[in-house]
């Protein structure tokens, strides 16, 4: 009988290894001044350097070096006082030079770590992920395989290459082997990539968009029989394009390997491709026949030897670690755990913080962004932040706080802003959304309500205060929500002798 996940864990211990590639958000490529805009027309961002034409010479982008150092420091790495580039030679047309400029035995950052927190059966637990290295390289071009039935390379008649992406600065962040994660291996992998993404975003060095490929993860996993003390053969899963996929890929791969081992079969060291629909992997190239990359030092580039003072300046300018910041904001804003998680998952923490910084109450800011605005965003299938700005939301919250708007009117203002009717002030003006603060207008509405519900009014006169709710409701309805409910209640009770 096939083993399920629990069955696999009972007999085997997983060891993880994660390689993350992140494209930097520099204006220009790693070794030439070509632009790096995503989605440009094919081959409009190329030059003799990134096309590998004879006689061209690469020169390193200074911002890319600084970003690499920032990443290394944020991951607690040592920055190498001296590092060099190397050529990684291979025959594959995604690089027009027939080699990729990378770093081999002299990477810029080494020996770091990243702590991640996981919800376990025994509560929240911290796992330390050791970082082996961070090195600089250049991204490859994009291939389009034409012919054949699947659009895949196998069976394709020819391929079309767009070199806009070739040469974009790429950082490769490699972990050491991660043992001891036990049944939490898939969650640890996900938490690591999530934390890494958050750190990279806070550093401002990358767009970190997995769906656009600016952050990519290769997940290695192996299983060893419990108590054997021997590492198993690993597989490397590529094409993992979302945080959820990182978790699913490891989970699926552990079940696959566990069942192979259970049937006495051998794990082949190979690259596998993650299949988004099924959560399974299919084999790619076998590493046993993988090419020999014949690395050698890149003779066209000189060594990178960052000055120690500069490194310390960069270290001093690092932002607060995202996990620390989250904890601080949760305490400052008194947010319950569940709401905090919702805010993080919706990626609205920055937005809520920006709104709060403009003077809005944290709870109100959170409620608007996660409530009404997110609801409309989901309906329209867009990002909440594309509908409104923190400034607009803060303005509306402050208008409610000052009594110029009621909650109900505020909802109408939000609706108007989203519908493109202008700023909150414009919407208030155009829709006539002013709180009715004129007591005589309110009294007219109160008398009208009493006239239509005389029995209710009598009950209130007789001391049944909660019955006033129906009358207040009628007044609010009559004024289109433009009345201050507390004032209506006050006037009504006064009028009925209470």
């Amino acid at each position: 009988m096939a083993l399920n996940y629990d069955g696999v864990i009972e007999k085997y211990e997983p060891t993880l290894g994660l390689e993350v590639h992140v494209e930097l958000n520099t204006n220009t490529k790693m070794f030439c001044g070509c632009a790096t805009a995503f989605g440009a027309e094919p081959n409009t961002q190329t030059c003799p350097v990134c096309l590998g034409l004879p006689g061209s010479l690469p020169v390193v982008n200074e911002v890319a070096i600084e970003s690499a150092i920032r990443i290394g420091l944020a991951l607690n790495c040592s920055i190498a006082p001296f590092s060099r580039f190397a050529r990684k030679n291979y025959f594959y047309p995604d690089m027009p030079k027939d080699f990729q400029i990378s770093q081999y035995d002299e990477p810029i950052c080494v020996d770091g770590f990243l702590d991640v927190e996981i919800d376990t059966d025994e509560g929240v637990k911290t796992f330390r992920v050791d970082i082996e290295r961070v090195h600089m390289e250049e991204d490859t071009g994009k291939s389009l395989h034409v012919g054949g039935s699947t659009g895949r390379i196998h069976g394709a008649e020819y391929s079309l290459l767009d070199y806009n992406r070739a040469g974009i600065p790429l950082m490769e962040i490699v972990t050491k082997m991660i043992p001891g994660t036990e049944k939490y291996a898939p969650q640890v992998a996900r938490a690591y990539v999530t934390e890494l993404r958050d750190i990279l975003r806070s550093l401002g060095v990358s767009d970190v968009k997995m769906e656009q490929g600016s952050l990519r993860c290769d997940a290695n996993v192996s299983l060893s029989p419990r108590g054997s003390g021997k590492l198993g053969t690993r597989s490397e899963t590529k094409n993992v394009n979302s945080l959820r996929s990182v978790e699913r890929a490891i989970h699926g791969e552990m079940i696959r390997q566990g069942n192979l081992l259970e049937n006495g079969e051998r794990i082949i060291q190979e690259t596998r491709h993650f299949l988004e629909e099924s959560g399974e992997t299919r084999p790619g190239r076998s590493k046993e026949t993988a090419e020999d990359y014949r690395y050698f030092q890149e003779p066209d580039l000189v060594p990178v030897a960052p000055d120690a003072t500069w490194i310390e300046e960069i270290r001093a300018s690092l932002p607060e670690r995202p996990s620390v910041r989250r904890k601080r904001l949760q305490v400052d804003w008194a947010v319950p755990d569940k709401e905090m998680t919702a805010m993080i998952n919706a990626e609205l923490l920055d937005t809520v913080e920006a709104t709060v910084k403009l003077g809005a109450d944290p709870t109100k800011a959170r409620t608007w962004w996660l409530g009404e605005i997110s609801r409309v965003a989901n309906e329209k299938e867009v990002e909440a932040t594309s509908l409104m700005t923190p400034a607009q939301v803060a303005e509306i919250i402050l208008l409610v706080a000052s009594g110029e708007l009621t909650d109900k009117l505020a909802r109408a203002v939000v609706e108007g802003v989203i519908a493109g009717e202008g700023s909150p002030r414009d919407v208030i003006e155009k829709r006539g959304l002013k709180v009715v603060s004129d007591d005589s207008a309110l009294m007219a509405a109160i008398e009208a309500a009493i006239a239509t519900q005389p029995d209710t009014a009598q009950r209130v006169r007789d001391g049944n205060i909660p019955a006033a709710g129906a009358l207040i409701g009628a007044v609010m309805k009559a004024t289109g929500g433009a009345a201050d409910a507390a004032r209506v209640r006050e006037l009504l009770l006064q009028h009925l002798g209470q």
């Binding site: 220009t28 094919p42 961002q45 911002v63 025959f91 490859t140 395989h145 196998h154 394709a156």
Partner: protein
Amino acid sequence: MAAISRDEVAHLARLARIEMSSDELDHLASELDQILHAVDRVQEAAKDDVPPTSHPLPLKNVTRPDVVVPSLTPQDALSGAPASDEQRFKVPQILGDAE
């Protein structure tokens, strides 16, 4: 002892996508062997106090500012391509991995 075997030369030729006949392999294996022995003699002169170099000039930290310069037009970029289609370089069937 030979510094490089005939099998290693055949492996390198395969990696470099150079087709070589059996005669050529025999010939090249012996030539490369002599070249490597000559390099060994250079290495004898370069003792531990001579650091390996990757560049003839004692330069470091040569960088450029992150400022965009105009790229080639796609027409110019593709002008040297043996074949192109849809504003892309067209290459024969690739064997290996899909990206």
